[in-house]
Subunit: 413 residues, 2 copies
């Protein structure tokens, strides 16, 4: 009997009617002959309401207490889903994170899973029961409740699937899959039927619906993850290990052969350029260590080839971090004998993502010429194994996304 | 350092402002040099709302799941009180029933405490922390969450006080103590400064604010319980072992010497009389066993002295049980060769309660003549060691309570 792990997000269990709907879906999967474990998030805006409640009694709620408070949201939803399943005749049982065997470190508010002993879940599955696990939570070795922070319930689901050796982790949410681009910008954006872990990571870090940590976990354990809609019965997107194939191969693998899988973007990007930097070992560390210490996250970094042992060093940060980053960088500039510091705070970036790209040198050329034809000036370029990113003027981001989506023929039909 | 256990009910922690108020009271007790453990109920109507939520997804919510769901109410309030204490500079830590060491049987919805290992609470107190324990809940040996049913949080508090060997268990609620009678009926009802466990048991079983199980537990461990108002800073009522004293003794023990401590009442009483019952061994069992099997609770039982080996047997039941009780009793009447079955469904009862009564035969006479003078007809009489109860017409209950309160001079001044 195949073991499936399903995960339902907060909007999918937002009220009694939705909970009954979810119970019906779970029961259908069970009756189809699968062994089912389910992970649920807190109902709707429960977590926000609990945070408000905490802030109504404390300016800075204690992290340990806040974790216990927040963990109640998932306890409520998982017991309600269990009751709804029993109401329609299914043998179901709820488990808290602790009962399910999720042991974490003590980093309250953003704990990491250190051990997942799924024995109790496995025993219940073996006894023919559907197990409903409270997402987002675990316990320390002292049995203190922790929460897993952002993407926590997705992480619980993938970790449970890995611990059970499940055939698949199905993540049901309010979107029905992963798209080639943001449908709000590109009306003919197409839903992908499958995507690789690394591709998904690149897409996810640009705003898609699964947190990178859960994708990384799925990749590490090679657990296939299906992202689909909880409301509509339409095919979702399967995130799994995609074997690279050649373009033009017929059948299931064909879509994979399209080297560019999607277009992503980001706004609110600021760039700092440090001019006339002495080109000697240790300079990059001298610039970026103080930024890291100030908790400023640096994204794209470009260092031009040096001329006469002086180079220009550019990097991007989130616009909200620009002022702090400039302060740090100007201090460093003096210390290392670099020239002036200039900034530009009105940028965005567009990226094309796909695992096949590295073996297809033409892809970059197509990207650059398409942007040029559309009149989009490229401010910076960076590439990774599966991604090419261009920093552009923020006002041209939408045009750039649409242009690239067309250029790589990612749309429907 | 004296260890105090305080318990705050749902209305006392009903919103953020009340929670901050409660935190202030706890902090004051701590700063007065006590070691403090606190038990809290769920905020306001939380438990009712959770039950509604359960009933919105299931006609008959599974008891195990319902217990997990309901237990979240106390987790929320205990973390909020803890946060509010930390906000005002107190070292406080919350504990779930499981963390506090409350082990119960598996009777979901009405579990009994089988073991209270308060070691973790004690260690935290020893470290100078205030411990806030979620009331109403425990765990089974399989770490399944249970709830203690009616009076659960009071029971948690008394059990914690007993386990810690606390000096006193202070129960803060929306009333400020135990009164000589219901103040809605008797305007000059007086608050008692102290009362014995058994007296409190008799008063509690007639509708006062603490559940008998928590009083029985306190009596068993000889733990003094103070019932007082969480809103107003006025003296409450101390429930403790009261030494019988002679009337007229001066000083603190004087009040105790008033043999009658209070007047209680009940409405909605129905009586069934089985006439011409053969007076032989086993007859009472033949009548009352079938009633118990039908889950009908019988209160007062009176059997008159027999004449010619035939007797009349009367007993009272709650009015809502009358129809079912009659059906059972009529079946039994035929089987044992008794006469007709008659019922009266419009009764109530009034009781006077006090430990000194048994040594003061005049008390019963005062009660009966006072009722006679007020024109109240007595339908049945029963007595226990510390209580005399008269069944009367329901419409005369209020008159009877006021009459008795006056007759025993229980009022103010």
């Amino acid at each position: 009997m195949a073991v499936l792990v399903q995960k339902y997000g907060g909007t999918s269990v937002g009220d009694a009617e939705k909970i009954r709907h979810v119970a019906g879906r779970i029961a259908a999967a069970r009756r189809a002959g699968n062994s089912i474990a389910v992970v649920v998030s807190a109902m709707g805006d429960t977590t926000d309401r609990l945070i408000e409640l905490a802030e109504s009694v404390s300016g800075a709620p204690d992290p340990r207490e806040l974790d216990v408070l927040l963990s109640t949201g998932e306890l409520v939803s998982c017991t309600l889903v269990t009751m709804a399943l029993r109401e329609i005749g299914e043998e179901a049982v709820s488990m808290s994170g602790a009962q399910a065997g999720i042991r974490t470190d003590t980093a309250h508010g953003s704990a990491s899973i250190v051990e997942f002993d799924a024995e109790r879940v496995q025993q219940a599955l073996d006894a023919g029961r559907i197990v409903i696990v409270a997402g987002f939570q675990g316990v320390t070795h002292e049995m203190d409740v922790t929460t897993l922070g952002r993407g926590g319930s997705d992480t619980t689901a993938v970790a449970l699937a890995a611990a059970l050796g499940a055939e698949r982790c199905e993540v049901y949410t309010d979107v029905d899959g992963i798209y080639t681009a943001d449908p709000r910008i590109v009306p003919d954006a197409r839903k992908l039927s499958e995507i690789g872990y690394e591709e998904m990571l690149e897409l996810a870090s640009y705003g898609a619906k699964m947190h990178p940590r859960s994708i990384e976990l799925a990749a590490w354990y090679n657990t296939p993850v299906l992202v689909a809609s909880s409301a509509r019965d339409v095919p979702g997107t399967l995130i799994h290990e995609v074997a690279p194939t050649e373009a033009g191969v017929e059948g299931e693998g064909m879509e994979v052969a399209n080297k560019v899988r999607g277009v992503t973007y980001e706004r609110g990007v600021a760039r700092i350029t440090l001019r006339a930097v002495p080109d000697r070992p240790g300079i990059a560390a001298a610039v970026f260590e103080p930024l890291a210490e100030s908790n400023i996250s640096v994204d794209t970094i470009v260092q031009n080839a040096s001329a006469e042992r002086l180079t220009d060093l550019s990097f991007t940060v989130d616009r909200t971090d620009l002022r702090a980053a400039l302060e740090v960088t100007e201090g460093v500039a003096g210390a290392i004998g670099a020239g002036e510091c200039v900034s530009h705070d009105n940028l965005g970036q567009v990226s094309i993502v796909g695992t096949g790209m590295q073996n297809a040198p033409g892809v970059a050329a197509v990207m650059f010429s398409a942007l040029a034809e559309a009149g989009v000036n490229i401010e910076m370029i960076t590439t990774s194994q599966i991604r090419i990113t261009c920093v552009v003027d923020e006002g041209q981001v939408n045009d750039a996304v649409r242009t690239l989506h067309d250029a790589f023929e990612l749309g429907e039909g």
